[in-house]
Symmetry: D2
Subunit: 284 residues, 4 copies
């Protein structure tokens, strides 16, 4: 029974690049953390130490810098498409190439054209893959979006077994540190404008929803994005339940009408789902 190489990939991670656009007096700043990878038949490298079809990961890094200089990408999604196209063209032994980019949210300091601070603690992401047969997949999303509801969140009517001690509630805090990703159905889109519309649908639905569970709110959020934006095939959301525990103040002779809580990081609930369209032609 032989031993064989299975799925594999290699690339360069944490390639950081900052591009400063200096058109006129107003500067723009883009800071991207880029991951590049190639996959395909690299058996001779693994089994025989034959490096002739390995493009050094150092070259991948150089490529990010060089293309960042030349490209006039309107979005990080467009930059990702340029990168994977380059790598598929120049690496004939690769079956597919992929890029993932996380962007740092710089914004102008009010009143200044060349000074910046962070706009938030949410990071925008994109993942682009290209197969040798030409199929692009472009996904976008975000990481570390903090959301909190102080009303319209209940949790009741759930299963009970002999180990259940949780009490039902009609009014709890609902906090999460959300991660989201959606897949586009095309590659020639105004990704920045679509992102704004999708994120607005997600956040507004979170805020407005009369929540019976994290699951139900997650689904409503994804559904709203799909309803409002035709250019996406599905939405995947991860919404850990960052529990805020009501403090028992009775031992101190005090009541606690849903006012004083202990926010916690662990343990936390983990709820995730993909919501899509029935005729999804962009299935993985």
């Amino acid at each position: 029974m032989a031993i064989v190489l299975g799925e594999n990939r290699y690339g360069k991670s944490r390639v950081r690049v900052m591009k400063v656009q200096r058109e006129g007096a107003r500067h723009e700043v883009f800071e991207w953390n880029v991951e590049v990878w190639l996959a395909g038949d690299f058996r001779s490298c693994f089994e025989d130490g034959d490096n002739s079809c390995i493009l050094p990961t150092d070259t991948m890094k150089n490529t990010v810098y060089s293309l960042a200089r030349d490209c006039s990408a309107a979005s990080m999604e467009d930059f990702g498409i340029e990168l994977v196209s380059h790598f598929i063209e120049t690496n004939s032994h690769a079956d597919s190439a992929g890029v993932r980019i996380v962007s740092t949210p710089w914004k102008h300091i009010d009143g200044f054209s060349d000074a910046f601070t962070h706009a938030s603690d949410k990071y925008d992401t994109t993942a682009v893959t290209l197969s040798r047969d030409g199929l692009h997949s472009v996904s976008s999303g975000f990481e570390k979006l903090w959301l909190l509801k102080t009303a319209k969140s209940a949790f009741a009517g759930y299963m009970n077994d002999r180990l259940t001690t949780l009490r039902e509630t009609q009014d709890r805090l609902f906090g999460t540190l959300a991660t989201g990703e959606w897949r586009y159905t095309g590659t020639d889109l105004d990704y920045n404008a679509l992102r704004r519309r999708i994120e607005s649908a997600l956040v507004t639905t979170f805020a407005a929803h009369d929540s019976l569970s994290v699951q139900q709110t997650l689904y409503a959020m994804a559904r709203a994005a799909l309803d409002q934006v035709n250019e996406i095939a599905d939405v995947h959301l991860q919404m850990p339940n960052k529990h805020c525990n009501l403090v028992d103040l009775a031992p101190f002779g005090q009541d606690n009408p849903n006012e004083i809580f202990v926010p916690t990081d662990e343990p936390h609930g983990s709820i995730e789902a993909r919501v899509g369209r029935t005729d999804d032609r962009w299935k993985e």
Copy 2:
């Protein structure tokens, strides 16, 4: 030659508390991460295992929760003052009590009165200490304030020794992840309003300054805050120089007119200073 106990302190750290104010339809959320400590003559505890003058740190935690319920503090500085006052009153063996609070920057989601997201990735801080003789010290500040200038930053004319290879520049990126702290000269102040004015002075000066060095800009920032706000005695700033290195694209036949940089975390310059008034009566 005897062995003796020197300076010592004990307390509770990372006491997280969230307070939800539900006055009318519009909710407000405060999330504080509190550290409490006591210092004084605790020799019998350390040397003899006599616990009779140790207030359990678990009780300190309970105290944070209980006072958060009762207090009507207008700011986290005021809450800190309430806490240290309580601990000095109830711990006769303690010479001093201190509190440090880091607040999480929640803001309303646009258009909603009971849903929130983070306003930024900057954290506001305060440190309050109270001695048995009654002296309050109230400091406030911030952590993790990202700042970046893409113009008006030079570094030239510095010392050269045989190990110096850095080249002078009249136009570099200047990025920092600033920490700041200032000491108030009183304890009955509108801390929230003062914070806004101080931070505005710091950030605006950073953006406007024609920088010859990190040192010079740091000093100008602190000076502006002291000039504009009489209620503070001094300002301490830490401004690590998060170097953005210009990429050499010449090997690829490209120029790089200050456009493509590699942001780095290490190594980094470390510049810090305290700037105060000559008749500082709040010296440590």
Copy 3:
């Protein structure tokens, strides 16, 4: 075109439990960080807010504690099997249940039966899944295993394109922070003993290998584990190339015969692969 729920799962993460065995004078300590999840047809929860088939994640947490008390598992893999069996039995609407455990490496302080310190900074892991049809999958592995070779590591003969500037080397440092995972072909095994043999094969091969690339060494390591341990179906390794860059000391009039390096975290190469047996009957 309807909108529908796709793949989904939920559970509890970061459930920490420490078990102290006090058989006789010698204590043993196990510290596990447990993640539990269920998957299946939870459409009514997501779409309608029907919680009647949701077992609260708080109950999952309780279950970890309760089973930890009762179980006499000889390994964390056996504990994982107990947990998923419990969850499949008690959640009729779930198609599959999974557990992932990360263990903290406590060891006795030399000469003491009831005092401990960490044995290393490597964390052992296991992942167990159980489908309703009865199929167990038991994987084990590790996280954060630091490895470094100061000899027998070359990288040459690779592809060159116009963006390649890397120079070939016959003698570089090879450092990695490895993650590994292997799938067992059975569920009634001495997991602790097998882990020791597998890890020994991996580490010894890393140290002994005459490396032409990270890829080749990774493959040799996985192959050695498969050669020496019949009870596993495959091995997956992730070996980021934590580059140690040779410092150019020539500007200071010094040579540098492979002695002074700068270790770096970013950017880093990313090499990962699965190596298996040709008649792998445990394919995912």
Copy 4:
């Protein structure tokens, strides 16, 4: 009332250097993370943007690399002494220079002379300062030393106030993530050997001590080090109380004879103290 520069310092942080000693077939590896700083009268830099007395922090970085190549330091403490001596000699405007080094704990993989893994997750540290008047201060210590006792730890007889709910215990877990630092009374010492003796005294005392409180055990540990090693003036220990909470299994019909605990990170007790000799001539 004028505004003036107060205390200030600047330098370079996170300068990572790895030195590979290749004497004969057996290699040795030292990985150090170095921080360098200078303090003194730098008013003209801050106030006027005069850089003529600023040694670039980039040069400090180069100096670490260059001296690492030339030096034959037997320990990182000796390397630190070489560094501060260099900086005081070459920076006439500096009143004092300091270095802090954190070392990564590499050890040989069993049976191999040129392959390594981490020995533990404890990091050794040193801090060396030199004033222009010639006074050296050499401190050494460690970070992130995990310690756990499963016996001989009580906490009772403490203060009670109306907010106290903690129950007394004669048998609790005592876990900590200790940081330690001691000051040497000389500069021409076998630092490696002394470190081993001091750490052995600390760890052995922790394990053997019949603990009535964290405070008492901390003091006993420091005292043991001072008793056994004459070359140190004092010991400073920080021992956060990483609480392990006994789980209440009664709701599930189970007892819990000090067997099942939840380890927690927050909130945590914070206990720290310096223990010294009465005629301490190395006071700060």
